[in-house]
């Protein structure tokens, strides 16, 4: 502690430079935490899924619908407990600048199959019993100030026209991957409005025995193999992972560029810290003359680098954790459950530690090994 005034005095030597260096460390670690959280959230969401739920899509691709007639056939398969279905709607609200997902779902079977979607019982009943009712996530209430009982009109993009729904319930997801910014409405109403086309975007199949998932999936797909719309069935987890894979390249690109940016900032920071230490060669020589040992000088330089990186890490990682929590960030709906995990914070702390060593050890060793006479340039 008695050396603390020396460390603090050196940090105050060039206040703006110290401030900028701390800011650089903070920014680098904020970026690191943000980018890594995108990846961990995508990964966490790809792991979501009940072992008792299968998802059946058109084998050609998820954008191609399946006939509604498949529902009864799937339900009749051995091992299948229940079937539900959903359609991507893709409507726009207001100026369309803020996006949220909307799904037309077979309400009763869908809610029964997803106990992760929770709401007060009276709201559930109100939603189930009104054809034009909608169920919204809590985030949409926060974002638009919508209330239960309010009418909301969406402009259809895939399915044109104005679509007006009455909000009858607000759900809270118990699993982050479900997302809290989704609008659900009745598939029956959807089908009626599009002229009874009889299409479903995908089926969700509940099975009793998770161990039989592969067999049931194969049986299901075999049944429609020679139809005009062959199916592809997999576990819900595989379905989620498929979404994550679609975003995977974006994630890789972002990760690569982001990592490069972060390390570039860290290198600049390390260089600034090393320069700061190098400038004081003469002073180090004076301290050695006074009797400071190599070990003490090494510790003082490391302590200085440590103070900068610790403050930078606390500010950068703390800001990342606090900011995303405060704004309830979800990546505009693409990253439900986004959060800066403790693992990310720990890894950020480790990077800060490495930065401290990288930027501190070399000047600290130089200080420790410094030849006093050469440094003072007193050779006659």
């Amino acid at each position: 502690m008695k050396y603390l005034p020396i460390v603090l005095a050196n940090l105050r030597r060039h206040k703006i430079r110290t401030l900028l260096t701390v800011a650089s460390v903070s920014l680098a670690l904020f970026l690191f935490a943000s980018l890594r959280s995108v990846i961990t959230t995508l990964h966490a969401n790809s792991q979501f899924g009940s072992a008792h739920r299968l998802v059946t899509t058109n084998a050609t691709g998820i954008v191609f619908p399946l006939p509604m007639a498949y529902a009864a056939k799937i339900r009749a398969l051995p091992g299948v407990d229940a079937v539900s279905w959903a359609n991507w709607f893709g409507g726009r609200y207001g100026d369309g600048k803020s996006f949220f997902a909307q799904f037309a779902v077979d309400a009763e079977s869908y809610l029964a199959m997803y106990p992760e979607i929770t709401m007060p019982e009276d709201q559930r009943q109100a939603f189930l019993h009104e054809r034009t009712a909608a169920l919204i996530g809590t985030r949409l209430v926060d974002r638009y100030g919508w209330k239960v009982g309010q009418d909301v009109t969406l402009q259809g993009t895939i399915f044109p026209g104005d679509w007006t729904f009455t909000i009858r319930g607000v759900y809270t997801p118990t699993a982050p991957a479900i997302g809290d910014d989704v609008l659900l409405f009745h598939h029956e109403y959807f089908d009626e409005r599009i002229g009874h086309a009889g299409i479903a975007g995908w089926y969700i199949v509940q099975i009793a025995d998770a161990g039989a998932a592969a067999t049931i999936a194969k049986g299901l797909d075999d049944q429609f193999r020679n139809s005009s719309a062959p199916t592809k069935t997999g576990t819900e987890q595989a379905f989620q992972a498929g979404w994550a894979t679609m975003l995977g390249n974006v994630s890789l690109l972002m990760g690569t560029i982001g990592t490069a940016v972060v390390f570039a900032i860290l290198l600049v920071t390390a260089n600034a810290m090393m320069m700061s230490a190098r400038e004081r060669t003469g002073e180090v020589a004076v301290m050695k003359t006074v009797g400071f040992s190599d070990r003490t000088l090494f510790a003082l330089v490391i302590a200085e680098a440590g103070a900068i990186t610790v403050i930078g890490a606390v500010v950068g990682l703390g800001a990342a954790k606090g900011f995303y929590r405060a704004v309830n960030f979800n990546g505009f709906g693409f990253l439900p459950g986004f959060s800066v995990t403790s693992g990310t914070l720990a890894l950020g702390g480790l990077i800060a530690l490495l930065l401290m060593l990288a930027s501190g050890v070399i000047p600290a060793m130089q200080a420790a090994r410094l030849s006093i006479v050469q440094a003072l340039r007193r050779v006659e």
Binding site: K2, Y3, P5, I6, A9, N10, R12, R13, G282, E283, V286, M287, K288, T289, V290, G291, F292, S293, D294, R295, T296, I372, V373, L376, R378, V379, E380
Partner: protein
């Protein structure tokens, strides 16, 4: 008994491919409580001698003993600890740490001791009182004159009560008035506080303050002159 004993000291520097011999068998004694001035032309080895004495540099061969301790064979860690206890060093350029106050600069050597904060404070105040700067202790070096800076440097050199005070051209950067004040202070440290002082100087007035003047030329002691103050 001599406080400082140089015995057959050789010192050579390698500058590129050239080998420069500074000392070729220098032998020298400095008595305890003495005030010795080292004089000589540039390149005569005055500062090198001071550096060897302070353990800032090592002889190529020979023995350098201070207060019975063989300095030339100590490790780097041993030398640092030894310097903290036995050597007070004053530079021509003052070399105060610019980010520390006069008080903190003087306190530096005491940080290496086991003294409590209160004991350190007391000693620093005494040292600054000896050099007449008790009213400048919260000032930073940039807020002091050259003479005041050098007096702070002297306070730093004596605060830990070292065996030997070494000064390398202490008046080289000072005006005449400040030089006189610093030299008077050194004289007082020697006569009143019985400090053994060794000073490298080109200045005859500074040398007059000493009891003994050693003349060096090309690394050889050519004259020892005893002065009466």
């Amino acid at each position: 008994m001599a406080l400082v004993e140089f015995r057959d000291v050789h010192k050579a520097f390698q500058r590129d491919s050239e080998r420069i011999e500074v000392f070729t068998g220098l032998t020298l004694d400095v008595e305890e409580g003495s005030f010795t001035a080292l004089m000589g032309p540039s390149g005569s080895g005055k500062s090198t001698l001071l550096n060897l004495l302070a353990g800032l540099d090592r002889p190529s061969s020979g023995s350098v003993r201070v207060a019975g301790a063989e300095v030339s064979t100590m490790t780097s860690a041993q030398l640092a600890s030894w310097r903290a206890r036995h050597i007070g060093f004053v530079f021509q350029q003052f070399n105060l740490l610019p980010v520390l106050t006069a008080f903190q600069n003087v306190e530096l050597p005491l940080l290496l001791t086991k003294l409590s904060k209160r004991e350190r404070d007391e000693r620093v105040k005494i040292a600054l009182g000896v050099v007449g700067l008790e009213d400048r202790m919260r000032h930073y070096p940039r807020q002091l004159s050259g003479g005041q800076e050098q007096r702070v440097a002297i306070a730093r050199a004596i605060v830990a009560d070292p065996t030997l005070v070494l000064l390398d051209e202490p008046t080289g950067q000072l005006d005449a008035k400040s030089s006189r004040e610093v030299l008077a202070l050194l004289g007082r440290l020697n006569s009143e506080f019985k400090k053994t002082i060794m000073i490298v100087t080109h200045d005859p007035h500074a040398a007059e303050q000493a009891g003994t003047v050693l003349h060096l030329e090309k690394g050889t002691l050519i004259e020892r002159e005893a002065l009466v103050r």
